[in-house]
């Protein structure tokens, strides 16, 4: 039995007169003790899926179970044993750190003392602010406190909806370290994020787009799926470079990636050289093409393209 099982879950919302499908018959499973990531842009359906799994919403069709319990029939059992941190969760701003934590402990009929060892690593970092109001904490601190609150009752499955959104890069990295430590305590963790770079930190990831799962595997396997040669392209005028690259018929795909553009070509590698000389003729200066290893984001872009075509 897997910690989370999802079978053909479909969910539709009424938006005025039209009907929007948020989830298209999604199926997947999460093993016990796994750190599972749902990666996808805003509006992909991640929150809806979490809400169905945490028994906050009913699916239109399909079944799902968490920790062996059906999300509809046994919702009370599930509510006892999952931890949930919603995306817009902002704690009680007017309560202190300690009061917030005691409240959530009381909610689950436990106390901070009882499960202190579980949250110790995290709580130690915010303990010096325990008399401070939650509203006066920094974004990263807030997320740590929220994580403590979600963990205080020793859940067997933890749902974290975009926990790192709006948090600075250092705090994000710290947060993921905490998640890896928690994993050692045999807690199954489902985490959703719009940040592609966090995908590599999960055991397995599902790439979600417009309510469909485009791919589901370990981060390494997903990057291996990338069957083309990937090039990075640079030139002095990066913007003009992008439009010029897209105009070349030999170019299969081209996306801006921070400081460089990631490009794949149709046909053989010679086409890369061909395009390079053509770009030089078009007046680009210091054009540089380099072969690189694809990252998860490249795969996601690729999968999205395939999804659009099909």
């Amino acid at each position: 039995m897997q910690a989370v099982e999802v079978n053909n879950i479909r969910k539709t919302f009424k938006a005025g007169k039209s009907v929007v499908t948020a989830l298209h018959d999604i199926s997947f499973g999460v093993d016990r003790g796994e750190l599972f990531g749902l990666i996808g842009p805003d509006g992909a359906g991640k929150t809806t899926l979490f809400r169905i799994l945490t028994t906050l919403m009913l699916a239109g069709s399909g079944t799902a179970s968490v920790d062996g319990f059906d999300v509809v029939k046994d919702f009370k059992q599930i509510r006892k044993r999952v931890g949930y941190m919603p995306g817009r969760f902002s704690l009680y701003q007017d309560l202190t750190v300690q009061e917030n934590l005691s409240f959530f402990a009381t909610l689950f009929n436990t106390s901070i003392k009882e499960n202190y060892d579980l949250i110790k690593d995290i709580y130690i970092q915010i303990e010096k602010f325990k008399k401070r109001k939650a509203g006066a904490l920094s974004g990263g601190m807030k997320q740590k406190l929220a994580l403590c609150c979600a963990l205080i009752h020793k859940p067997s499955v933890l749902f974290l909806d975009e926990p790192t959104t709006g948090v600075d890069a250092v705090s994000r990295r710290e947060f993921w370290e905490l998640l890896h430590n928690l994993q050692k305590q045999t807690i199954t963790i489902l985490v959703s994020t719009p940040y592609m770079d966090e995908a590599g930190l999960c055991d397995r990831v599902a790439l979600v787009q417009e309510g469909r799962i485009l791919g589901i595997d370990t981060p390494e396997a997903i990057t291996k799926q990338f069957d083309q040669v990937l090039w990075s392209a640079r030139a002095e005028n990066m913007f003009k470079l992008l439009t010029d690259l897209k105009a070349q018929q030999e170019v299969n795909s081209c996306f801006p990636f921070g400081q460089e553009h990631h490009v794949t070509f149709n046909g053989s590698e010679e086409n890369a050289r061909l395009v390079e000389t053509r770009l030089n003729q078009l007046g680009h200066k210091s054009v540089r093409f380099e072969k690189i290893n694809p990252g998860i984001e490249d795969c996601f872009m690729e999968l999205m393209e395939q999804h659009k075509k099909s």
Binding site: R51, T54, T55, L56, M57, L58, F75, K76, R79, K80, V82, Y84, M85, P86, G87, R88, F89, S90, L91, Y92, Q93, D94, L95, E99, S102, F103, F104, T106, L107, F108, N109, C149, A150, H153
Partner: protein
């Protein structure tokens, strides 16, 4: 129980830490009592009037003295002639003019009839009506003394007694009304807003995904507002007895119990509103439109229920404040016992149970 007490403590923190709101809620009774007691009154006191005395004799002198002696009137000026009268009214300085015809005393003594003209500024009909009545009463008073001396064989006197409120004070009427408004405001509006806030900041989502029955948390929310209302009931009663001189004629314990009953009804209403609103704004708007306005307008406090059109009178039956208002008037002002208010109490109790039942049934265990 330990859980419930902790939740109550948490709600107290919310209430007390929001200093401004806390302060406003505590001072609200004071503000309303002062506003209604001293500013928004339609009682007539020290109204400025003018006198045009064309006769200037013994009788007119005596009547003018009596007018001046009463606390209703201040004589602002003596107008010398009829032409100046209109101008004085236009200037807005006076509300009433008393005009004596020439040879007033002579006519009175010889023909046994004399006429005094009372001219009122009816741009404010209620005030001018009241002033004319007061002035007539003063003149009748004078006439009565005059008659006693002359002893006319046959006459009919009307003797008027204003029961329960002999001085016709407005405060007898609005203290119960203010009580209804304050309790509605503190209990219903604040409860509904505070539950809606949990939905807005996302804590409700976490509370739902927990083994707790959410109703328990919601009931914990009511406790601080209930206690606060008890404090407010106390301060309103103290203010009305010691500041406005409205005595409590009936049983104080019964009165306080009835107030608590209405407090619980208001809390239940707040709960009902919160179960259908997802944001603080919606909760606020609903409370004001559905609760506060009917409480002010349809309870009989501002406008008598008997004078309303049939439709509004019918709607007023569904307004809890209407029954509460009648109950408080009966106990506090008329000094009646429980046997006179059991019907209203029963109606309020049934309403409370109904509101509670609907909101509990309506409370969603999921987000949709």
């Amino acid at each position: 129980m330990r859980q419930f007490l902790f939740f109550v403590k948490k709600e107290f923190y919310h209430l007390v830490r929001d200093r401004q709101t806390f302060f406003i809620l505590l001072c609200l009774p004071l503000a309303l009592i002062l506003i209604f007691g001293f500013a928004l009154t339609n009682e007539v006191k020290n109204s400025r009037i003018a006198v045009l005395d064309n006769s200037k004799d013994k009788a007119t002198r005596a009547i003018i003295d009596q007018l001046e002696a009463s606390r209703y009137f201040d004589i602002l000026e003596y107008i010398p002639s009829n032409d100046k009268l209109e101008a004085t009214f236009r200037s807005g300085k006076i509300k009433l003019a008393v005009v004596f015809p020439p040879n007033f005393n002579q006519e009175l003594l010889h023909t046994n009839t004399a006429t005094i003209q009372l001219i009122g500024d009816a741009s404010d009909p209620n005030t001018s009506n009241a002033l004319i009545n007061y002035a007539t009463a003063v003149i009748m008073d004078y006439q009565a003394g005059f008659r006693n001396a002359a002893e006319i064989p046959l006459r009919i006197n009307t003797e008027i007694r204003m029961l329960y409120n002999p001085q016709l004070k407005g405060s007898y009427n609005f203290v119960p009304g203010v009580m209804a408004m304050v309790l509605m405001l503190v209990c219903a509006i604040m409860t509904s807003i505070s539950i809606a806030r949990e939905k807005e900041i996302g804590t409700m989502e976490v509370i739902l995904v927990s083994p707790i029955v959410p109703m328990r948390l919601v009931f914990a929310k009511m406790v601080p507002y209930f206690l606060m209302s008890v404090v407010n009931i106390g301060s309103i009663l103290l203010l009305s007895v010691y500041v406005l001189d409205v005595p409590i004629q009936g049983n104080l314990v019964l009165l306080i119990l009835e107030c608590m009953m209405f407090t619980i009804a208001s809390l239940a209403l707040g709960l009902l509103i919160s179960s259908i609103s997802n944001s603080q704004q919606v909760a606020m708007l609903l409370s004001v439109v559905v609760l506060f306005l009917p409480t002010a307008m349809l309870s009989g406090f501002m406008f008598p229920v008997e004078n309303m059109p049939a439709v509004l009178r019918f709607i007023s039956h569904a307004v809890p404040a209407r029954w509460f208002y009648t109950t408080v008037i009966n106990i506090m002002i008329k000094g009646l016992g429980f046997e006179y208010v059991w019907k209203e109490t029963l109606i309020l109790a049934v309403m409370t149970v109904f509101f509670l039942a609907v909101s509990i049934l309506n409370f969603k265990t999921r987000l949709e």
